[in-house]
Symmetry: none
DNA sequence: TTATCTATGTATAAAAC
DNA sequence: TGTTTTATACATAGATA
C-alpha cells in the first residue's frame, strides 16, 4: 500500500513496526466506529501493542460486560467460569474447616460427645480441664488486681469480696 | 467511498445496511488480523450484527480470557466482578465466622483469655465446667457399659480389658 | 511519539447477477 | 443472502519534520 505493497508478515524494523501499529490501530478503531454507526452493529475491540499499551473501543449501545455475556452464550466458550470455580472451591474448603471447628467446639462444650470413643473423650476432658485451670488462674489474677486496687483506694471494699464461683468438683481422675 | 461518498450515519435502506455490514465486517476482521501479524499486536474483536449474529476474532498468541484479564488490570474496569463479588462476600463472611469460632475455641482451651473481661471469663468458665460435667458423665457411661460387658462375658477378662481402639482424630490439646 | 506529505494499494458503494 | 464488477474514496508505507 502507499508507497509500496507490503507482505503481511511481521515488520522487522522496530521503528517501522511501531509507526505502522500506531497508524493501523487508529484505522482499525475508526472502522469499528464506522460499522457501528452505519450498520447498527455492536463492536468490541481490544488492542494491545507489543509494548503492552492498550487501546479499546466498545460500541455505545452495549457495554463490554454485556457483549461478553452474549459472546459466551453464542460461542459456548467460558470466559470466567473457571474463576468462579476456584472461588467456589475456596468456599467449600472454608466451609469444611468451619464445620470441623464447630464440631470441636461442641465437643468442648460437652455436646455431641456420644460420637466420640473413650480415648478421644478423655482427650476432650483433658483439654477442658486445662482450659478450666487457665480460666480460673486468670480469674484469680483479676481478683488479686482488684483487691490490690481496693486496698490502695480510699473507700470500702465490698466489690472486693466478690469471689469466683469456682465450684471444684472431683470426678474420678 | 466507492461509487460515491457516504456519510457516517445509519444506513436507512435495510438491504444496503446489511450488505455494507457484511463487507465492512470482513474488512474489519482482515485489518485486525493484519495488524496482529505486521506489528506483533494482540487484538480481540467481537462484532454483533443487528440481527444478533456474532463474528469474533482473537489473536492466536493470547486467548480472550487472558486479554480480558489484562484489560481489567489496565483499564481498572470490572467485567465480571459483580458476579465474583457475591462469591467474595460469601468467602469473607465465612472467614469471619471461622475466625470467631477459632477464637471461641481458644478461649475454651484457656488460650488468649487475657483479652476477656471478668464477666466473659466467668461465662467461659461456666461453659467449660458444663462441658467437663458432660464429658465425665459420658466417660462414666462408657465404663459402666464396659464393666457390665465384662461381667456378662464367660471366659477370662483379658480381652475385655481392652479399651476402645481409638482411631484418632486430633486437635484436642 | 505524532503530524504531514504523496504515491499507491485497498476497501467498498452501488449495481447487477 | 453471497459474488462480481467498477469507479471512487480511503488507508497507509515511506519519508520527513
Amino acid at each position: 500500500m502507499g508507497r509500496g505493497k507490503i507482505e503481511i508478515k511481521r515488520i522487522e524494523n522496530a521503528n517501522n513496526r511501531v509507526v505502522t501499529f500506531s497508524k493501523r490501530r487508529n484505522g482499525l478503531v475508526k472502522k469499528a466506529k464506522e460499522i457501528t454507526v452505519l450498520c447498527d452493529a455492536k463492536v468490541a475491540l481490544i488492542i494491545f501493542a507489543s509494548n503492552g499499551k492498550m487501546t479499546d473501543y466498545c460500541c455505545p449501545s452495549m457495554d463490554l460486560g454485556a457483549m461478553l455475556d452474549q459472546y459466551q452464550k453464542l460461542s459456548g466458550k467460558k470466559l470466567w467460569d473457571t474463576k468462579h470455580e476456584n472461588l467456589n472451591n475456596e468456599i467449600d474448603r472454608i466451609k469444611k474447616e468451619n464445620d470441623s471447628l464447630q464440631l470441636e467446639l461442641r465437643h468442648l462444650k460437652g455436646e455431641d460427645i456420644q460420637s466420640l470413643n473413650l480415648k478421644n473423650l478423655m482427650a476432650v476432658e483433658h483439654a477442658i480441664e486445662h482450659g478450666l485451670d487457665k480460666a480460673r488462674d486468670h480469674q484469680m489474677e483479676f481478683l488479686m488486681t482488684k483487691r490490690r486496687n481496693v486496698r490502695e483506694n480510699v473507700g470500702g471494699g465490698e466489690s472486693a469480696t466478690q469471689f469466683p464461683a469456682a465450684t471444684t468438683r472431683d470426678g474420678y481422675s
